[in-house]
Amino acid sequence: MRGNRRSLRHLSQNSTNSDVGPPTHQRVRSAGSPSCIIQTLWAKKPIKKMTAQEVRLCGLLLQEHFGEVVERIGTHLLRGGAQNLRTIANETNTPLDLVKKSLCVLVQHGVCDFGSGRRGPGSPVEYRGNCERVLRILRYPRYIYTAKTLYGDTGELIVEEVLQRGHMTMSNTVKTVADRLTHNMEEGRSMEYSEVVSSFSKLVETHFLQRCPPVAETATAAPSATPATHRTPASVTPPTAESNPDCYKLPPVTLTGRGKRRRSSDDGEEPGGVKKAKMDSESCGDEGIYWQVNFERFHQHFRDQAIISAVASKLDQTSSEIVRTMLRMSEVTTTPTAAYTQPLSANEIFRSLPPNYSISRPILDQYLSLLVDDPMEFVGKSGDSGGGMYVVNLHRALANLARATLESVVQERFGSRSARIFRLLLRKRHLEQKQVEDFAMIPAKEAKDMLYTLLSENLVQLQEIPKTPDHAPSRTFYLYTVNQLPTARLLLQHCYKTVANLIERRLFETKENKRLLEKSQRIEAILASLQASGAEPEQLTEVEEMITAPERQQLEALRHHINKLDSTENQVDETIFLLESYIISTKSK
């Protein structure tokens, strides 16, 4: 398995199925073929402290995707920070080889990174979990869906494959995707590799896929290099994907042929796998170049979509189309963390508008000035040259969207009058209780009740300003206020807990109906085999009736429940995305 070449040399070789062709998902989970060089550049990122809610959610996600053991190791890493192999094994009471395999899985998916120990060169290698990367798992459906809307089924499958395996070579991806597409086509047709290659290269061109950061190949030079890096810790930077100049460069690959159909006549999986392995071991010219999904780029896309839809609902369709054009024009020229897009002149915008949008130049100018005048300030004016230079206020837009999210939570949970108080405080910063009553025009008794409820939920803060040093209540101003950033952080934690709750409930629902699910699966299998062998229709109905009507109803209800839980998870993730982006954007200021 090539994917694991990048893994760790210091983990003893114990896998049997290394280098046997494209791994299935299951194989990735358990196998490891470590043969690599210890990373000397131990990513010295400051470790973000994780909350209990985040770790709980991470644990659930790891368990769902990689199973119990990986979950145990992963959660331990997230909780305990950087530690070496021996410690992990001891503290989790897991056999050493299981720990190694789990670490391989985690490293393969970028959830865990490793580097030389803190005690200097020669000390045991340490591993560290990356919580944010685990939380991305929650967003997989959205990445895949986005790839589908942008690049069709092929794009969808490419992103899906790469996400499921952590990282892959291009040739591998193309082959797997072509096979899968062929499998779903009608008999006698198949998918050209070249078509998949073109989709793949489009994804790379638009930066949705990127090369994995190179693992520093300095094993031989390590003794001399390591002390140097230790003396100047400032120069130690984590190897990011972007730092590689070839990050978005496609390797020259020679891929010809078409996808192959897995025939049901193949005797099971194994021989097919071996055959494929032999075929895949042919050199395609891109060995060692692995690709991963560029989450940043996807997030940028999500952010742009959020801004566009906000403009569409606040103003109108045409304005949103103009903003979309502006964002698309500056997509590649603007860095992901920039507060504004590159300035664009009205002339340029006019030329780049989609041709089916027949807006005349003066109308465009009017739209632009309306966008600039809007109090949401999505678009700003940065100069007058070239018919006016315009920028999209990315950070301001995120802050506004986050504020709207907070308001919406208060509105739905505590009613529109509490939301009025909340907005009032956001607008006027500090207010006394009496002022809140007067401005919001809510009777004193109710206003007091609402304020206290909001205060107890930590959505509103109270600031005391004493007139005298003794803090006597009668001589103290009590000012209510809303701090947007801490409140956003609070709600983000609520979101994490909510998603974890939804997952727990889903697991619970499946567990409750385990017997029923197993039965229905068994019956489906029987049906399929009967159909294949050409059984009588009476026989089929007989088998079908083994599931009674109430059972069928129950299954239907279960399906409904699971779907609802799933879709809600995705919706909550949208809130998480907005709040996270807002928090990150304020940090980078």
Partner: protein, 339 residues
């Protein structure tokens, strides 16, 4: 009572502190024919004060009547003060004496000093009114005495008691002919100290409906975007007129009242406001400014978090897997799933 001296504050306390020496000289009938002043010095002073209706300082008296010694001057002033003919005020340069207008003086006829003092304190409070405890604090009289005096003055229809909306049990006193301040009555939004919450909500909805329909008409007009935007604006005067014509309010609402209502709509996130400069004399402009309002759409739909039952759960913080309240046995979740 209009006072041209900006920093003039009434000195009610002085009354109780000044001494009233006994003056016994011949009685002189003054031209007013109502008040008897028994001292030639006092008469002179009285006449001097009449010449300067805005008040005189000690210096003026000294210049005008150089023959008077300080003691005699004080005696004359005290005499007039005790008769209720003179007001003692303080401004930046010192004390100031001013004639009281004849009407008040006549009203107070037959009242004793304490009563005058209380009346003075209430008068100074203006249309904001004053609480009986504050009267005591300012006049240094015992509360029982004050209550007696207040009752007395009320029966003479010189003052009235008004219930304040700020505290329903607190009565404030003000002169009988005054219109209570908005802070006391609460303005149009109160009837008998109760905040008319439904009334406010109805007005809030009506204003929004007006602005929304205006915005819709503008959107359907198919004009250029700028014209569309501008025609979706309504001035506060227009909204006020609409509400008045609707006739939903029994009380007369002022434009400021409507603006407070419109402000609540801003805090509801449904309306935006812009201020533009207007020509003096344009209808609905205040100080050369005009407030424009328009209905707007929210930028997002209800966020994803609140679509899950946990987003609205009242026991969210107590919920733990394996606990009394947990996602597995959650009743809200069960109801929501079966919905």
């Amino acid at each position: 009572m209009v006072c041209i001296f900006k920093n003039v504050t009434p000195l009610a306390e002085h009354y109780s502190k000044l001494t009233f020496p006994h003056v016994s000289t011949k009685t002189v009938q003054l031209t007013s024919g109502k008040i008897a002043i028994k001292s030639s010095n006092t008469i002179l002073l009285y006449e001097l004060c009449q010449q300067f209706p805005h008040g005189i300082t000690d210096q003026v008296i000294q210049n005008d009547m150089p023959h008077l010694e300080a003691q005699q001057r004080a005696m004359a002033i005290n005499r007039l003060l005790s008769l209720g003919q003179l007001d003692l005020l303080r401004n930046s340069s010192g004390l100031l004496y001013r004639m009281k207008d004849a009407q008040t003086a006549s009203k107070m006829k037959g009242s004793d000093n304490q009563e005058k003092l209380v009346y003075q304190v209430i008068e100074d409070a203006g249309n904001k009114g004053i609480w009986s405890r504050d009267i005591r604090y300012k006049s240094n009289l015992p509360l029982t005495e004050i209550n007696k005096i207040l009752k007395n003055l009320e029966s003479k229809k010189l003052i009235k008691a008004v219930k304040s909306v700020a505290a329903s049990k607190k009565k404030v006193y003000m002169l009988y002919n005054l219109q209570p301040d908005r802070s006391v009555t609460g303005g149009a939004w109160y009837s008998d100290q109760d905040f008319e919450s439904e009334f406010v909500e109805v007005l809030n909805q009506q204003c929004f409906k007006f602005l929304q329909s205006k915005a819709e008409v503008a959107r359907d007009s198919k004009q250029s975007p700028m014209v569309q935007r501008n025609s979706s604006f309504a001035t506060s005067h227009e909204v006020w007129k609409y509400i008045c014509e609707l006739g939903i309010s029994k009380v007369d609402l002022s434009m400021e009242d409507i603006e407070t209502i419109l402000n609540t709509l801003i805090y509801d996130g449904k309306v935006e406001m812009t201020i533009i400069a207007a020509k003096e004399g344009t209808v609905g402009s205040v100080d050369g400014q005009m407030k424009l309002y328009r209905g707007v759409n929210p930028i997002i739909q209800p966020t994803g978090l609140v679509k899950a039952p946990c987003g609205l759960c009242p026991v969210f913080d107590d919920c733990h897997e394996g606990g009394e309240i947990s996602p597995s046995n959650c009743v809200y979740m069960a109801e929501w799933l079966d919905f």
